[in-house]
């Protein structure tokens, strides 16, 4: 245990020191990895209990567009806009989650209802093109270096913010893990009637994890918007980003704390690597290979990279202990 804590502290020290040594491009990649790692972690909070949502694009879209629109049109600081977007996402999660869990909409059906939700949010953003710019996207009004507007031209600031938020996401995961909630949810995902019979409030536990997951995803969406300073309905909502979230979380391994982040590291280095390798001559080449790898992942490694490593570790207990990083 002390070895794990030491490894965690060493890892954190490295992460904190990185901005002063790596070039800007890699800092940009690191920010993206941590940011998406946070969003994938938020999705996995639900996913690991068997609620596979294809609707997280909806929460991300709401989280990203609400503060951006409030800032551009009303001059409201993102410090208010972001919590508002998170609140709206929580409401959306309740409106969808409550009937789903109440009426036992599960499996394929849950995936498709949430998919419809993410399409609805995307289409509303596109349809409201007078304020959102439609599919052309929108940019936030520039304010230079400003804490009030949460805009920083220097990447170092965003790295710090995203690092803290990512750690917060891991803390939430641990918090859900420690509490009675996880055991309750695991019992539910194995045997719902049995869990209910020993007095677990199924509905409340499911809704709690869904709302937490939605709120964190909205925060991730908001930071994504603040960092890139450009929003596009396709990139923060709808079917493609929802699938992207699910794939990366699964690729890394949604059952382990660092799995989703490893998923972000894997998928982003893969897409970036392929993009650099193929250049702009073969548009689509990188994504083609990415698609093939996704299929292979699902077929051969349904528990993800970290899941695989842990499975091997469990089979040979004398080999190296579970990797901390």
């Amino acid at each position: 245990m002390t070895a794990r804590i030491a490894a965690a502290i060493a890892g954190l020290a490295i992460l904190a020191a990185l901005p002063s040594v790596v070039p800007t491009y890699f800092l940009h990649l690191l920010i993206q990895i941590l940011l998406w790692g946070f969003i994938y972690t938020a999705w996995s909070l639900m996913g690991r209990f068997g609620f596979v949502s294809l609707g997280h694009g909806a929460f991300m879209g709401v989280g990203a567009y609400v503060p951006a629109l409030l800032w551009n049109y009303e001059g409201v600081t993102p410090w208010l806009g972001i919590p508002l977007g998170m609140l709206l996402s929580a409401l959306l999660a309740l409106v969808i989650g409550y009937p789903c869990f109440r009426l036992k909409v599960v499996g394929h059906y849950f995936a498709l209802v949430t998919l419809a939700l993410s399409q609805v949010v995307m289409l509303v953003i596109v349809a409201a093109r007078d304020v959102t710019g439609g599919s052309l996207g929108m940019t936030q009004k520039l304010a230079g270096h400003s804490w009030y507007a949460l805009q920083f031209p220097e990447k170092g600031y965003f790295y710090g913010i995203v690092l803290v938020v990512w750690l917060g996401g891991l803390a939430v995961w641990q918090w859900l893990d420690r509490g009675i909630g996880r055991e309750a949810l695991e019992a539910i995902s194995e045997d719902e009637e049995g869990a209910a019979s020993i007095g677990i409030s199924i509905l409340r536990e499911k809704l709690r994890v869904t709302v937490v997951s939605a709120v964190l995803t909205a925060l991730g969406g908001a930071l994504y918007g603040q960092y890139l300073m450009y929003l596009n309905p396709e990139s923060v909502s709808g079917i493609s980003v929802s699938l992207q979230i699910v794939f990366a979380a699964i690729a890394g391994g949604m059952y382990t704390l660092l799995g989703p982040t490893v998923g972000a590291l894997l998928t982003l280095s893969l897409t970036e690597g392929l993009r650099v390798y193929f250049g702009t001559h073969f548009i689509g080449a990188a994504n083609t290979i990415y698609g093939i790898l996704l299929i292979l992942f699902i077929i051969f490694m349904p528990r993800g990279i970290l899941g695989l490593i842990e499975a091997i570790g469990a089979r040979r207990p004398r080999a190296t202990a579970a990797p901390a990083e």
Binding site: K104, H108, V113, L115, A116, V120, V126, G284, T288, I299
Partner: protein, 297 residues
């Protein structure tokens, strides 16, 4: 869309345009129903949702485009080739992607075909670029009692209905069709009855592919082809199948017309995006009201 209603054409009452929108919706519903039948057949028999089903349609449309517009094959021949090609493609999808995950969790099966969606769209972008390509067949617009109806849509509707009837007769009348229906009712027992499950799965995938190929030929007459055209129809087709009750053919058929009417009437009164919002919202609400489909008892 090259056949949408144009309000400046006639001096007729506004209502006529609404009727025109409804007729358009009805005609679109035929093709959607055909696709819903294919997806439903695969779900009912193999118990897997092909998220990438609409992207098989995209492949078929490219086949029609290249064979007809580029290599100059006659349209009928190109269409037959596209149907056969997509049918073969369906078999490959089953062998390479579905068969290895048949024993996994349902959601992994869904995601494996989600990976296929990603692959097909990117591969099409790599091969053909993101240009919109038109097959280049210009069919006339005919007027019936003040209503303008696109001939391409009319053909699509009739052909889709014929395709649906052919499928119905095949499933009801032929020995193979009976075996397919039986396996969709009880997977375990049919092995004991001497039905080769693997073979039935392959045949079902081929039929599902052929239906997607037929839909591709019909849609190629109305829409430009581009790598992401599957995203236009894909989510709609799932909604339709689920509304009808996954695996329920008749339900899917009826749901296709309900959804297409909502889209065309909604598009007439509001905007296209809003009509889709309406359709998806109705889908969510109906999922809660009738979780096992509109025809569920």
């Amino acid at each position: 869309m090259n056949s949408s209603a144009n309000p400046t054409w006639g001096s007729s009452a506004v209502d006529l345009f609404l009727v025109e929108a409804m007729v358009d919706g009805l005609l679109l519903g035929g093709v959607l129903a055909l696709l819903a039948l294919g997806l439903n057949l695969i779900f009912g028999v193999i118990d897997v949702v092909w998220i990438a089903y609409a992207d098989l349609v995209m492949c078929g449309m490219y086949m029609v485009y290249w064979l007809h517009a580029y290599y100059g094959w006659p349209l009928a021949l190109a269409s037959v080739a596209a149907i056969a090609g997509v049918a073969l493609f369906g078999v490959l999808v089953h062998l390479l992607i579905i068969a290895p995950v048949l024993g996994s969790a349902p959601i992994n099966q869904l995601l494996a075909t989600g990976g296929l969606l990603y692959f097909l769209q990117s591969f099409a972008t790599l091969l053909f670029g993101t240009d919109f390509r038109n097959v280049g067949v210009r069919l006339p617009v005919i007027e019936v009692g003040g209503i303008y109806v696109s001939y391409a849509r009319l053909i699509a509707f009739v052909a889709a209905l014929l395709g649906a009837i052919a499928l119905y007769l095949f499933l009801r009348r032929s020995y193979l069709g009976t075996a397919i229906r039986a396996i969709s009712q009880d997977r375990e027992i049919m092995g004991l009855m001497g039905v080769d499950q693997r073979r039935i799965y392959l045949i079902t995938s081929a039929i599902g592919g052929a239906l997607a190929g037929l839909a591709a030929c019909l849609l190629a007459l109305q829409y430009d082809v581009h790598p992401f055209i599957g995203n236009t129809f894909g989510p709609l087709i799932f909604m339709i199948c689920v509304l009808g009750g996954l695996g329920n053919m008749l339900g899917g058929f009826i749901a296709a017309f309900i959804i297409s009417q909502i889209i065309s009437i909604g598009g007439y009164y509001f905007s296209t995006e809003f009509s889709y919002v309406l359709a998806f919202t109705l889908f969510i609400v109906l999922m809660f009201a009738r979780p096992r489909g509109i025809l569920a008892r």
